[in-house]
């Protein structure tokens, strides 16, 4: 007797049902994207090089510049490259042909934004975790202050999350507004990121007067709330019927024109 097989095998999905659809989509896309793959590989190569150079140089005075390079590298990836990748080209989901297809589903604005943001955070966390082995090496071989460095890394990660929200807000704007806002935003992000990083580290390290720097850094982090609110309003508005208020602004001339056309159609 031949066993009965279904004509086609039903393919199981690789992500749980409980996850937000946009998180699943963005993770699938994001983990395959060149920015993430080459960013992660490049980071590993650069960190390996810097760590080796630091071990070889030992107490050489040039090691200070190697440390600066180490932090610059991590900061650039976590705070600029990963969260702001779509800044100038805009969000592909928001192109009209894609957006229309999303509007007719049962999703809403917060679902879209949460999914996108969590996906960016997930990718940043993967990069962040990949830095930890180098931190251990630095602790055991070069004898760095591991707690301070871990705190610095965490501040960079949190700042990366803030930057991702800024990026989502800006990438949802029309092209012209996007460029202007992005150009204004990037210097502000640098200042905010630097202030919070140095501010937090100096508080813990007791190595200087952190007050004003920390305050600026905290303000920068709090802009996440504003970015989130603005982006969600924009997504929610566009998820509704965006062009549904035209009839409120009709002139008498428009109304007469429509009356005439209605009469003509009825007669025909």
């Amino acid at each position: 007797m031949t066993a009965a097989f279904p004509s086609t095998l039903v393919r199981e999905s690789d992500f749980s049902d409980r996850l937000n659809p946009f998180l699943v989509k963005e993770l699938r896309q994001g983990l395959r994207s060149r920015v993430f793959v080459f960013g992660l590989m490049g980071l590993q190569a650069a960190l390996a090089f810097v760590t080796m150079a630091r071990i070889i140089a030992e107490d050489d005075p040039t090691t200070r510049s190697l440390d600066v390079f180490y932090w610059l590298l991590i900061g650039t990836l976590l705070h600029l490259i990963l969260p702001l990748r779509d800044l100038f080209k805009g969000d592909t989901d928001r192109r009209k042909e894609n957006w229309d297809l999303l509007v007719v589903t049962v999703q809403n604005g917060d679902g879209v934004l949460w999914g996108k943001w969590l996906s960016m955070i997930s990718q940043m966390v993967i990069c962040w975790l990949s830095i930890l082995p180098y931190e251990l090496l630095r602790y055991y071989i070069v004898e760095h202050e591991i707690m301070i460095e871990l705190l610095g890394l965490t501040v960079l990660l949190v700042n990366g999350m803030v930057a991702a929200l800024w990026g989502l807000l800006v990438s949802s704007l029309p092209a012209a507004g996007r460029y202007v806002t992005a150009l204004l935003m990037i210097p502000a992000m640098f200042v905010g990121n630097a202030c919070s990083f140095v501010g937090v580290v100096t508080v813990i390290d007791h190595s200087g007067e952190p007050g004003q720097l920390l305050a600026v850094g905290m303000i920068y982090m709090m802009t996440a709330v504003i970015s989130y609110g603005l982006t969600i309003s924009r997504y929610d508005y566009d998820m509704q019927q965006p062009r549904g208020i035209g009839h409120l602004y009709l002139s008498d001339e428009d109304r007469q024109l429509m009356d005439a056309e209605s009469r003509s159609s009825a007669t025909a």
């Binding site: 086609t8 999905s13 659809p21 592909t92 589903t105 429509m258």
Partner: protein, 333 residues
């Protein structure tokens, strides 16, 4: 696609009934500088396949977008299964499948992942979702392409994918905006098969296209729009047959042995004949009668007048000709 394979059962809907599924009443759409839709009204019944025809800028896409809840009428009312598209868009969206003329692709995403994402976005869960995605892939012949990246699909494959996406929530009413545009002949055949299969399952389809002959084969009802107004709503075969009463004519192809211009000269002095198109070896004429006696008499006269006719072929009127005639008639003062 192999049309002989038995597609999986997509939910069958009720057959044609007296109560219209879609009601469009005195709908206007006025943009800041464009008056796109000017008071159109029509009904679509369950199970109908309706062809929506019009030139570029005639108001087709605007009308379809309003029906799909993607735009809002400036005035008038559209209801689908008695749900108003403006008042209750969420309810309408459960009933409507939308396939735009131009769909975007997602980078770094396979065909399966695209369908799985939209199935999730439509709220399908667990085994239901997996089953539904597989049904749709089988129906649209996408299973062999499941692991292919979206940006590596041909235009025809992409259209099938878009078609599959539209079917995921199993909508009752399908709106397709220029679905066959840019497809090669094989892909068009596949598309026509899909439409036929859906029609057999009792789905109601509303399809716009520029390719009138294709719509004629797929649709049982035609809706012509011109300048934002409906100029014809009726049966496709009636339209093709035409009649003198509604200003339409019989099409006749004539081939002559020499001097093809002689046909135009002859037609210009014989009432009832109009030259539709001149060709290298003859012409296509329109004749204002369709009874055999009149046509036989006309042929005798043609030969009697010295035309070297070697082929005389009566054709069913093309929908393109019917459409052009209709537009001309409506534009007459």
């Amino acid at each position: 696609m192999d049309s002989s394979t038995t597609p999986p059962p997509l939910t069958s809907t009720a057959s044609t009934s007296a109560e219209p599924l879609v009601r469009v009443r005195d709908v206007h759409r006025l943009f800041p500088n464009v008056y796109a839709v000017k008071g159109i009204s029509f009904d679509i019944h369950r199970g109908q396949v309706v062809g929506f025809i019009g030139a570029n800028g005639a108001g087709k896409t605007t009308t379809m977008r309003m029906m799909a809840t993607l735009d809002v009428p400036t005035r008038g009312q559209i209801s689908i299964a008695n749900e108003d598209v403006v008042q209750r868009p969420a309810q309408v969206r459960r009933l409507v499948g939308w396939m735009p003329d131009n769909y975007g692709t997602y980078a770094n995403m396979t065909v399966f992942e695209y369908l799985d994402f939209f199935a999730r976005a439509y709220g399908l869960k667990g085994q239901d979702r997996a089953q539904r995605v597989q049904e749709v892939m089988d129906f649209a012949d996408l299973t062999p392409l499941a692991d292919r990246m979206m940006n590596a699909l041909s235009k025809g494959m992409g259209q099938r994918l878009c078609f599959g996406r539209m079917l995921l929530p199993d909508p009752e009413f399908l709106i397709l905006d220029e679905p066959a545009a840019g497809l090669d002949p094989k892909a068009r055949m596949e598309f026509k098969n899909l439409v036929r299969l859906l029609s057999q399952r009792g789905k109601t389809l509303f399809i716009s296209s520029h390719i009138l002959s294709e719509l004629g084969e797929m649709c049982d009802t035609m809706l012509f729009i011109d300048g934002g107004k409906i100029v014809y709503h009726g049966d496709a075969n009636e339209l093709r047959k035409g009649s003198a009463a509604n200003g339409t004519r019989m099409a006749i192809d004539i081939v002559v042995a020499d001097r093809p211009e002689s046909i135009s000269e002859w037609a210009s002095v014989n009432p009832g004949w109009t030259v539709v198109e001149t060709r290298r070896d003859g012409a296509r004429l329109a004749f204002e009668a369709d009874d055999p006696q009149s046509i036989a008499a006309a042929l005798r006269k043609m030969i009697g007048d010295g035309l070297s006719v070697i082929d005389f072929h009566r054709e069913e009127r093309r929908l393109e000709d019917a459409f052009v005639d209709m537009i001309k008639d409506k534009s007459k003062p």
